[in-house]
Symmetry: C2
Amino acid sequence: MVQTTPSPIQVVLPQGFRASAVHCGLRKQQDHADLGLLIAGEAQKAVAVFTQNRLCGAHVHVCREHLQQSAGLVRAILVNARNANCATGQQGIADARAVCAQLAQRIGCPPEQVLMCSTGPIGAPLPKEKILAKLDWLVEHQSEHAGGEFARAIMTTDTFPKAQTRTFAANDRIARVTGFAKGAGMIHPNMATMLAFTLVDACPEGDLQMLLRRSADRSYHRVTIDGDTSPNDTLVLWAGGATCATAPFEQAVTEAGQELARSIARDGEGATRFLTIEVRGAMDEAEANLVGRTIATSPLVKTAVAGRDPNWGRILSAAGRCGVPFDAELVRVWVGPAEVYSHGVPHPEREGEAHQHLMQNTDIVLGIDLQRGIAQADIWSCDLTKDYIQINADYRS
Amino acid sequence: MVQTTPSPIQVVLPQGFRASAVHCGLRKQQDHADLGLLIAGEAQKAVAVFTQNRLCGAHVHVCREHLQQSAGLVRAILVNARNANCATGQQGIADARAVCAQLAQRIGCPPEQVLMCSTGPIGAPLPKEKILAKLDWLVEHQSEHAGGEFARAIMTTDTFPKAQTRTFAANDRIARVTGFAKGAGMIHPNMATMLAFTLVDACPEGDLQMLLRRSADRSYHRVTIDGDTSPNDTLVLWAGGATCATAPFEQAVTEAGQELARSIARDGEGATRFLTIEVRGAMDEAEANLVGRTIATSPLVKTAVAGRDPNWGRILSAAGRCGVPFDAELVRVWVGPAEVYSHGVPHPEREGEAHQHLMQNTDIVLGIDLQRGIAQADIWSCDLTKDYIQINADYRS
């Protein structure tokens, strides 16, 4: 949504984690940090999911390498905005490695226990010196109260910082999940998010990587802004402290991820409406997802919402091209509370109600029941407006 | 491209075919025909390719049915604008059948030798009476000189009428191909076109349906405006007269189709630039197509062109997400004459030249060499502008 300058937010970090943020000169605005640090008192277990794009940002190479070398133990994550360090060749990878090594030296850990993540325009060399010059400051100013500053530092075209916390019972105490994300454009499963970091002060036994995949499939992988996936998409789950049960941990991590995913869609570039695409009556969840994503990425559906037009024909038509063999004479389509199509015929008498839903709400529901089975999925997206064009036609200028 | 009111065009029809066009009241502008007729002196062989969308316009059902019943013999094709007769249930199908039957009665042929095609907004009942009221007029005024009027009558959001003719040697005479198309939005393979009709006054022996598929794969299926496919997409090849050789026939039909496909992209809703995506060095043509289509549908690539930004990072990034496992360190990317990325590094010194290409031309070339093989394909598209949003947010209002 279009918003004014983001106000600072308060974010509570899980025990044992600290954050800091600083302006190092990547962003023009002096009062807006562009380099953020997350740091753990001691190395904790981390797993990650990366972009599926053949073009990978330098940090993706280096993060994979470091997680392998460290057997998944991480002490710190450094994040810069306004430069993707992507399509920068071997030099970009060397730059990212060098920054990690310098930070590792300052905090006293092996280089492979440091991760670095970058987002922003593709193709410009990483301004390494600007970043290196602020590492001492970041380490010195680490604080358990700086989560909000970190969330703000990692924004690129985001209009508001994105963080969520959840608590859950872990044995005899309350554990905390804190998730951070940045998004806004070039957002599509898989990965939906550009960068997201989920910190937890408890950790279950078992396969954390599998747990993260399951969780991502029901959170970040359900949001799409424009169908374009970034070469830098990275989601890190970083969990330490006492051992806890798997189920409440996974639930809290997933809930925080879902709320962050929704906030990414709410902050879609140029968006004026947040969309939930409800797909019902699918044969399985994958089918429901496919139908939902196809509707959510249809420029015609998204521009109709921008024009407040309850154009159910476009919803049905988008669903129809995704390859799921539903029967158009059986499906039902709704816009908010109004069922506008069913049993092969439109219900024009309900369109007024559907139009009101689009006019009077910022959270819009578009739904389709395929009448094929009982599986379902919700996909989150936003409308497509002239401001999206403006933002993306001007991005590098 | 944005144009003023389309001027009449002259279109020569192949021997034995006539056309007519009239305003029947579907369009608001009284001086713009909205109902067109193509008619053959006697029934000629026709084959067709239809939308792959699960939602089909009523005319798709009726055309399939009639072509089967008539063993592919067609006397007339009636086309209306401004109403898709889609998602109109059994009533819509009955309406289309009734219109065909009424026209058949007037020209003295079996109902199954008449096809009908509709495009426009989805969901409104076909204004059958308005159409029926003009059938006598259309039949009486059929003329070999009315091809231009027909091309104009079938436009919906098109800004100019689209027709192409080609000639080829058929035994001892010159045969003629005349193709008509309408497009502008909701355009994506397969079928790329919304409606296209190709008439020829010669016909080869052999499988005309297979020939049409091959021809479409190299013409209409190479254009994309917005990734949305219409439930009404229909391409008809209608050929009669003397028998001719296959090769020159196929070449002329394909060339006319390619030029019509390009004109559809040129007339993309809100477009200011015509794009040719050159994909080189692919393993096979399917791979080249996939890469080209992914680049051509990327909102980020299309908005960059709208902003005259030679943003090769977005081209590379779009290619990277389509599933083709190229090596980002080997590929080359160019914008017009300027190679802006190769061997894993950008060439910022060439960006000025690339920017000039975008500023000074309306026909833009974006290219990528995957360095995997020797197959190639060109895909045609257009930029994504605020006017696309305007047109599609306002379409039904």
